[in-house]
């Protein structure tokens, strides 16, 4: 893990967190997800198109209670980028983690970026 990377404070609550390098962005096929181990958390990372646009949410699917979110299909609803849970197909906002089908459910969303071709997650 890249401990020494400078952490630009994005918002107060990310201040104490640090960026973890995960993998080259090319390891994520366009419009798919991968699951990463970040400390002890399972984090689902999605890549939109053949770009450096990446998003990260918790890999835990609250509906099936299984760690499978990274295997969902990426898409959009009315322009809102989302991922559909692979087991029972509920949709989650990729940027915020909010469940679009149940306002009471939300996945943790993690800041994600690509630096020098490496995907990084702040956690």
């Amino acid at each position: 893990m890249a401990q020494s990377l400078s952490t630009q404070a994005q918002s107060p609550e990310t201040e104490a967190k640090q960026w973890h390098s995960i993998c080259p962005v090319t390891m994520i096929a366009p419009n798919t997800g991968v699951n990463a181990l970040v400390d002890t958390e399972q984090v689902a990372i999605f890549r939109v198109g053949e770009t450096d646009e990446v998003y990260a949410v918790s890999n835990f699917d609250p509906f099936s209670q299984a760690f499978v979110m990274s295997r969902g299909i990426v898409g959009d609803r009315q322009g809102v980028l989302k991922v559909a849970a692979p087991i029972y197909k509920q949709n989650f906002n990729l940027k915020t983690g909010e469940c679009l089908d149940d306002a009471t459910v939300k996945l943790t969303a993690y800041p994600a970026r690509v630096v020098d071709g490496q995907v990084q997650i702040s956690a």
Binding site: I22, C23, M27, I28, A29, P30, N31, T32, V34, N35, A36, L37, Q42, I45, V48, F63, S64, Q65, A66, F67, V68, R71, G72, I73, V74, G75, D76, R77, Q78, G79, L81, K82, A84, P86, I87, Y88, K89, Q90, N91, C99, L100, D101, D102, A103, T104, V105
Partner: protein
């Protein structure tokens, strides 16, 4: 009106409380009112009427009644998992269990009801439950795992729902009813005994006229129930469903006027004795009556919202129609109007059919001209029509019995929706008239049921009126000359059939290309797999190739079937169900080595469960080396061609069904289609392979083969139709080629051949013309497309394990070699299975 916004506090977020908030928003209240609500349960309002489906096909999320983001979008403050414990009417304040204090200008009590538990000695023993919330159901489900026998106390509507739930959990189920018959409020003795017979046929034991005197536990476990007639019944668990009581403790605490036997007294505006406070739903008492159905609750919400907003045309509540239609344990039961013929001079006509297991009764006016009420058991298909006849006071036919026995010659033709007046109430749950539905269809150009239901709310309560609403929609669309829209999803304004055509004509080879030319946005979980399937059936490119991988549902993406815990099951192809001992041994060895739960499927194959993503390639390396190939059990694709042993061994067989089945399976293996495809070949008319329940089935005759198509097992079994008789093998293959590609090109997404066939205009004759007589002149093209598929077939697993780039995806973590640490198993009958939530909790504490 004061300048500041007023506070409306709604106590309770059940079906009726939520409905009130929806109505307030709909009626434009949010610019003058702050809407605030308390929800005691851990989740927002859900469909309690369909609660038993939580054990069958619906999750908590499916049951929700709240549009995603509804509360946030409309600025409604909701206090979750918190309940109001005190009302201070003098200071107009409510206080919650969590210590929240909210001032109100108006207060609505929508606190609902609680299940009544009869005062029987031992009624609080471990193993006793009630049936009201999702949490209750979770508790029942967890306890049922260690139980064999379950008893429901109460044979009313909810009790029977509950019995169904216990039965679905695999328990030996009993219903104990105090009254002499089931559903004593809705149906009479004759109907009750018919219902009892039907339900007992389904394996649920019904005990009527039983007064429970004691519930006895032994060694801390529930043991039995004892009855006043000195009999007893052994059981492991008991669910009380003996009626409801209003949740009126708050009203009592703050001194509102109450009924003698509970319930918050309301007037026709739904106001309580304090005009600032309203009560609606099952906690409210109107003219000495509690209304324990959702429809009257919704009516009260309507009335209260009108009144709160001072709508000039405010409706008033004047009691409610308690008509209901239900499917209890698969048995239709309906009761409407004056079901017990209490109107002076009214007459009853009844038809009981012990053979069909149906009982139908009509109550008609003294002059026999008007329908006043009725009871239907076993077949409630006439309910919608009868209810309309009654509510609109339409004249009855001369012989009203003809309404009950429509098959009789000379019977009155079934009532068409066009003959109903505009004022006819179609949906009684949400009080929606024919006029309102027609206006919505015409003014908002609605063309599909989901939108129509959403806009008008018709059909969203008990669902009993859905067929009528559908008829209305179709009739209105036909009148308007509108073609029914069939768009795949918001990203493509085309039906699947149209898109398939565009894809082939334009030689489009990827989703991005199709989206750029004919769609918009990024796609979604509906269009992506559908297009993935079209691309595969047209060009037969490997589904894991880079441009296609993101289109696949997880099953296709990992070439295995995902299970509830996120692991997969593996099913290698066993063509025709024929397998050598050597291969069987390999399957056993692989299962042993990777500790996989092993089960024989219904389609003559072996299924290996519990494989982790990282194990899938290792398992398949072994299987491919032993000569197995992918069984495509994960895809919407050809599954198996089941066969009997045929003339080779069987003394009755007339043709070699096994060889044909293997040949057919190898020809169509890997073929992707709108839905899964199943087939079978039987060696004689004894039909041991069950070919007439398959998408295409073949039965041997003395002279050749008979080809059946469009049959289906599964959720809605359908008998296949005979397409061709006594044909030789070459013709048979030709017809199947044409049939399959024709289906693949024209069916809707996720549409099985049976449903596709049912919608095919012209039916079997048309299908014969296209497939056999080539009336469209496309037979050659259809055959060529199939031949292309056959020629380009590859075993998806073999290609995958030979390709390092594809193999890279079969890891649980992209940045670590570990397996999923959350998986947890227990042993059952000598094999592993996923631990239940309760077992996980126990295992975690032990560790």
């Amino acid at each position: 009106m004061p300048n500041r916004k007023q506070n409306l506090v709604v106590v309770g977020n059940g079906m009726v409380g939520h409905r009130l908030l929806e109505l307030m928003v709909e009626k434009g209240a949010t610019d003058r009112w702050n809407l605030i609500t308390f929800c005691e349960e851990p989740r927002v309002a859900y469909d309690r009427v369909s609660l038993s489906r939580y054990f069958m096909d619906m999750t908590a999320a499916d049951l929700t009644l709240v549009e995603p983001g509804f509360y946030q979008a409309n600025g409604i403050q909701i206090y979750m998992h918190d309940r109001v414990v005190e009302i201070d009417r003098e200071r107009q304040l409510v206080r919650s269990a969590n210590g929240v204090e909210v001032a109100y200008d108006r207060l609505v009590l929508a606190t609902g009801s609680y299940p009544f538990v009869p005062p029987i000695k031992g009624n609080d023993a471990a193993g006793t439950f009630v049936y009201r919330t999702i949490e209750d159901l979770d508790a029942i489900k967890a306890y049922a795992q260690q139980s064999k026998v379950g008893v429901v106390v109460g044979g009313g509507l909810l009790g029977l729902e509950c019995a169904n739930a216990l039965k679905n959990l695999g328990l030996e189920t009993h219903v104990v009813e105090f009254a002499p018959r089931l559903m004593p409020v809705q149906i009479d003795d004759a109907g009750g005994s018919m219902l009892k017979g039907k339900i007992e046929e389904l394996g649920v034991k019904v005990h009527t006229s039983k007064v429970t005197t004691e519930i006895v536990s032994e060694n801390g476990k529930l043991a039995r129930m004892e009855f006043a007639d000195k009999t007893s019944l052994s059981t492991d668990m008991i669910v009380f469903s003996a009626g409801i009581r209003p949740r009126d403790e708050l009203a009592r605490q703050c001194g509102l006027e109450m009924g003698d036997r509970g319930g918050i007294m309301i007037d026709e505006s739904c106001q309580t004795s304090d005009p600032q406070v309203y009560a609606i739903g099952e906690c409210a008492l109107y003219q000495g009556r509690i209304f324990g159905l959702v429809a009257p609750g919704y009516q009260m919400a309507e009335v209260a919202s009108d009144h709160l907003l001072e709508v000039a045309t405010a409706q008033s509540f004047a009691g409610a129609d308690m008509s209901t239609k239900l499917k209890l344990l698969g048995v239709d039961v309906a009761s409407f109007g004056d079901n017990f013929a209490k109107t002076p001079g009214s007459k009853e006509l009844a038809v009981g059919d012990a053979v069909a297991g149906t009982y139908k009764k009509l109550v008609v006016s003294a002059d026999g001209k008007l329908l006043l009420g009725g009871i239907l058991v076993g077949d409630a298909s006439a309910y919608g029509t009868l209810l309309q006849l009654m509510q609109n006071q339409m004249p009855l036919p001369e012989n009203p019995l003809s309404l009950l026995v429509p098959a009789t010659a000379g019977a009155a033709p079934s009532m068409s929706v066009d003959s109903l007046p505009d004022t006819a109430q179609i949906c009684s749950c949400n009080n929606v008239t024919k006029g309102q539905i027609c206006a919505a269809i015409q003014d908002d150009n609605l063309t599909d049921m989901p939108t129509l239901k959403k806009c008008t709310k018709a059909g969203t309560g008990c669902g009993g009126c859905v067929p009528l609403v559908k008829d209305l929609l179709q009739s209105e669309l036909k009148k308007a000359g509108v073609e029914v829209k069939n768009h795949l999803c918001e990203h493509f304004a085309y039906s699947r059939q149209e898109l398939y055509h565009l894809l082939r004509v334009g030689q489009i080879k990827s989703f991005d290309e199709l989206l750029a030319q004919h769609g918009k946005g990024h796609g979604c979980e509906i269009c992506k797999p559908a297009v993935g399937s079209m691309l595969a059936s047209s060009w037969n490119d490997h589904v894991l190739n880079t441009p296609h991988i993101g289109l696949q549902d997880t099953n296709d993406a990992f070439l295995a079937n995902i299970q509830k815990d996120g692991t997969y099951s593996v099913i290698p192809r066993v063509p025709g169900g024929e397998i050598t001992p050597e291969k069987l041994i390999v399957l056993g060895q692989v299962a042993q080595e990777f500790d996989l739960y092993t089960k024989i499927t219904g389609a003559q194959r072996v299924d290996l469960f519990g494989a982790r993503v990282d194990q899938l390639p290792l398992i398949w390396r072994r299987l491919v080396d032993a000569g197995f190939e992918s069984g495509h059990a994960y895809g919407k694709a050809l599954r198996t061609v089941k066969s009997c042993v045929g003339s080779t061994w069987c003394r009755f067989g007339v043709q070699d069904s096994t060889s044909l089945a293997i040949e057919v399976e190898l020809r169509y293996r890997g073929l992707r289609s709108p839905h899964k495809l199943k087939s079978a070949v039987s060696g004689c008319t004894r039909e041991c392979a069950e070919a007439q329940g398959k998408d295409f089935g073949i039965i041997a005759t003395e002279n050749g083969w008979n080809l059946y198509v469009c049959g289906n097992g599964g959720m809605k079994p359908q008998h296949a139709v005979l397409l061709a008789t006594d044909i030789d093998k070459e013709t048979l293959i030709k017809y199947i080629d044409r049939f399959l590609v024709f289906y693949i090109r024209t069916a809707d997404r996720l549409e099985r051949t049976s449903t596709w066939f049912n919608k095919l205009e012209g039916g079997l004759d048309y299908l014969k013309q296209v497939i056999i007589e080539d009336s469209l002149g496309i037979a050659e093209e259809l055959e060529a497309q199939m031949q292309y598929h056959v020629d380009t077939y590859q075993c998806e697993w073999q290609t995958t394990i030979e390709n390092p780039e594809k193999m890279q995806r079969f890891r649980h973590f992209v940045n670590a070699d570990a397996a999923d640490p959350s998986l947890c198993y227990v042993q059952e009958r000598g094999q592993k299975r996923p631990a239940t939530a309760a077992e996980r909790a126990t295992l975690a504490t032990v560790q």
